[in-house]
């Protein structure tokens, strides 16, 4: 019998091989700013542990390389990822000279490459398993719980990024809250405004082109420029409208960041609402009118449910986009994870940059998974739309 290779598995094997052999696993720096020394996997652990880690990587690659059942692939990927996560913490403890509180250990490119390779394997396995929506959410929950467990256990406390965190834990969670508030708040506001606007555009054809063009135009303004544009009017509102300043409206800070995110969110929501409503089968609409539904009943009982998957796709785009964009808010004093990113750039402390960037990416990823599950759950219900 011929041995059958998995195409993606070959790619994963090459990536993982490069991550293990071609680049270092961790970087040891004398302090948080200067360049460091790259250490290979074997240098990061006691000899036996390093060898064991390499063997485990080999086993995982083996599972990836051949046509093995998706469940096996997922299990292998998950255990490899968990091992990597723990290993980097152990490497930090091993590499840091005893009693030296200036030395910093952070993951090197090899670690990230391995992480990427096995994340790819996991993602591929999950795709092949075709999990039900709730199953996807369960996977996400398990992953989040695993990360939280490692985080709380202190295994990572030797890592540079965690040392940056330890010094500003309070600020970190405050900024996290602001970040989520900015991203979610602007999404909610944009949904509240965008949905009715989308319905209006759908029903009043002449309005459609002009509204979508204006929103398109807003989308093309670079975020920094939009902040700049907003400073003057918001400052003016704060100065002239009684009570505006009291609720936090100012030329800089949270208000312009919120408004900018809100404006950027409108286009995907309005456009997807219009597209979703236009995609409702004509017969369904006519039958709805024929059975004596009022326009409102038709909107809520027929059009919205059938357009929901498309509208949710718009909301997904906005949420992921906003979680990323909210980072920029720090530039004008709006807070969020961007605070650490820009401080880190200012101090050339890459680990501080990571402290802002890693949670942002994780948050965006989790949001994408959750909304994908929601979209999937909804399109299952209305997937007769195509065959109607």
């Amino acid at each position: 019998m011929r041995i059958r290779f998995d195409k993606l598995g070959v790619a994963i094997t090459l990536i993982a091989a490069y991550g293990t052999l071609g680049s270092g696993f961790a970087v040891l720096k004398p302090n948080r700013i200067v360049q460091g020394q790259v250490k290979s996997i074997l240098e990061c652990f006691p000899a036996w542990a390093g060898a064991a880690l390499i063997v485990l990587m080999l086993l995982t690659v083996f599972v990836a390389l051949f046509r093995t059942p998706p469940w096996l692939k997922l299990g292998a990927a998950a255990s490899a990822l968990a091992t990597l996560a723990v290993a980097i913490g152990l490497a930090a403890d091993f590499l840091t000279p005893a009693g030296n509180s200036y030395a910093r250990v952070s993951p090197a490119s090899g670690f990230w490459i391995l992480l990427f390779a096995f994340a790819l394997l996991a993602a591929d396995a999950i795709t092949r398993l075709k999990p039900a929506p709730w199953m996807r959410v369960l996977f996400l929950f398990i992953a989040a719980a695993g990360i939280a467990l490692i985080f709380l256990s202190g295994i990572w406390s030797g890592l540079s990024i965690m040392k940056e965190y330890a010094g500003r834990a309070d600020v970190f969670w405050a900024e996290a809250g602001k970040h989520v508030m900015l991203a979610l708040g602007s999404l909610v506001a944009a949904t509240v405004v965008g949905l009715p606007l989308g319905v209006l555009c759908h029903r009043v054809a002449p309005l459609r082109a002009s509204v979508l063009n204006i929103l398109n135009l807003i989308q093309t303004i670079p975020s920094i420029a939009l902040f700049g544009i907003l400073i003057a009017p918001l400052a003016w509102i704060a100065a002239t409208v009684p009570g505006a300043a009291a609720i936090g409206i100012r030329g800089i800070g949270v208000a312009p960041a919120f408004v900018a995110l809100f404006l950027y969110s409108l286009l995907p929501i309005v456009a997807n609402t219009v597209v979703g409503l236009a995609g409702v089968p004509r017969e369904a609409n006519e039958a709805a009118r024929g059975t004596g539904m009022t326009d409102m009943q038709r909107l809520f009982q027929i059009e919205f449910p059938l357009a929901l998957p498309v509208i949710l796709t718009g909301i997904r785009i906005v949420l992921v986009q906003n979680i990323g964009l909210a980072t920029i808010a720090a530039l004008i004093g709006g807070g969020g994870f961007g605070v650490f990113v820009f401080q880190g750039i200012g101090q050339t402390a890459m680990d501080l940059v990571l402290l802002g960037a890693v949670p942002t990416v994780a948050l965006a990823f989790a949001a994408a998974v959750l909304l994908d599950a929601l979209i999937q759950a909804n399109s299952r219900i209305s997937n007769g739309a195509g065959s109607a």
């Binding site: 089968p281 017969e283 369904a284 006519e286 039958a287 709805a288 009118r289 024929g290 059975t291 004596g292 539904m293 009022t294 009943q297 027929i302 449910p305 059938l306 219900i381 209305s382 997937n383 007769g384 739309a385 065959s387 109607a388």
Partner: protein
């Protein structure tokens, strides 16, 4: 009663329905036939105001159909849309329950009605109630569409090619059921079809449409005996004429006093069916009985031959 008076519908410059006037008697079945694109659907939709006429008025039981909000009018008129128009995100039961839901019927009354209609259309409630439309065959979808139109027991039922996707056996059953429902609820039915057999089987009156106009409107026998023009004649089919005539009458109407041999024939069979039976069994006459089995005389081949002739 539906009074259609000088109804015209124009889209831009094309006239789709052109000055149609006709009166549809209450508790009758009116069948609209005609070529594709002749305006049948458009005419029908002006009755429940899915399409607003350019000129003319339609009165229902003497009242202009614009005298009440369109959605209230439509809840009182059952409409089985061409195709089926089921809501893809709702189950069969939820689809059928649409109008009762809009009218605020209680749960148990609605559920009972849904079950009754599913059974009537030979869709086992246990199997079909919770299915989604895309899990049904075309014929099943169509039956659910008709069931939805019937759910609130409307006085008027508009049906646009409701049986197009059904196989001959279920179609014949559906037609008979429809007539039974019509008798039971005294419904006024307007039905569009391309099937002339169906038209003659169901209709009290047939309207023939071409290019937006009604060419002829009258009882089926009148269309056969005195077609208004060659279009109507062609539509009915020259070689079909004697059989169409027979299909409009019942055995009871052709019965005469007397005796006959062999298997009796039920009085409600059409004369066309009686003729077929006599020819097939090689008899010259057959006894006629009522539904209850009481003898009602006999039908003879000669009588049928006479009735099939234009001279009659």
């Amino acid at each position: 009663m539906i009074e259609i008076e000088g109804i015209t519908k124009r889209y831009d410059d094309t006239t789709v329905v052109d000055g149609v006037s006709m009166v549809i008697e209450p508790r009758t079945v009116t069948v609209v036939v005609g070529t594709s694109g002749s305006g049948k659907t458009t005419l029908m939709r002006m009755i429940n105001r899915l399409v607003e006429p350019t000129f003319g008025t339609i009165r229902i039981d003497g009242e202009d159909n614009r005298s009440m909000p369109a959605h209230e009018l439509r809840r009182r008129i059952g409409y089985a849309i061409q195709g089926h128009g089921l809501f893809p995100h709702r189950t069969v039961a939820q689809n059928i329950a649409t109008v009762p839901g809009l009218l605020g019927w209680g749960k148990s009354r609605t559920a009972a009605k849904v079950e009754e209609l599913l059974a009537l259309f030979q869709l086992d409630p246990a199997t079909f109630a919770d299915r989604y439309p895309h899990e049904l065959s075309g014929g099943q979808q169509q039956r659910v569409g008709v069931a939805r139109a019937l759910a609130a027991e409307p006085n008027i039922l508009l049906m646009d090619e409701p049986f197009g996707a059904l196989d001959p056996i279920i179609r014949a059953k559906a037609q008979d059921d429809l007539l039974a429902i019509q008798k039971h609820f005294n419904t006024t039915i307007v039905l569009v079809t391309h099937d002339m057999n169906e038209a003659f089987h169901l209709a009290n009156k047939i309207a023939v449409m071409d290019k937006g106009s009604v060419l002829q409107y009258g009882p089926p026998a009148e269309l056969v005996r005195a077609p208004a023009n060659t279009f109507v004649e062609t539509l009915i089919g020259e070689t079909e004429r004697p059989f169409r005539l027979l299909s409009t009458g019942t055995a009871c109407a052709a019965a005469e006093p007397g005796e006959a041999e062999g298997e009796p024939i039920r009085e409600d069979l059409s004369q066309q069916e009686v003729l077929a039976e006599l020819l097939w069994s090689g008899r010259r006459a057959a006894p006629v009985v009522s539904a209850g089995g009481a003898p009602m005389g006999r039908v003879t081949l000669e009588a049928l031959v006479k009735r099939a002739s234009r001279l009659q």
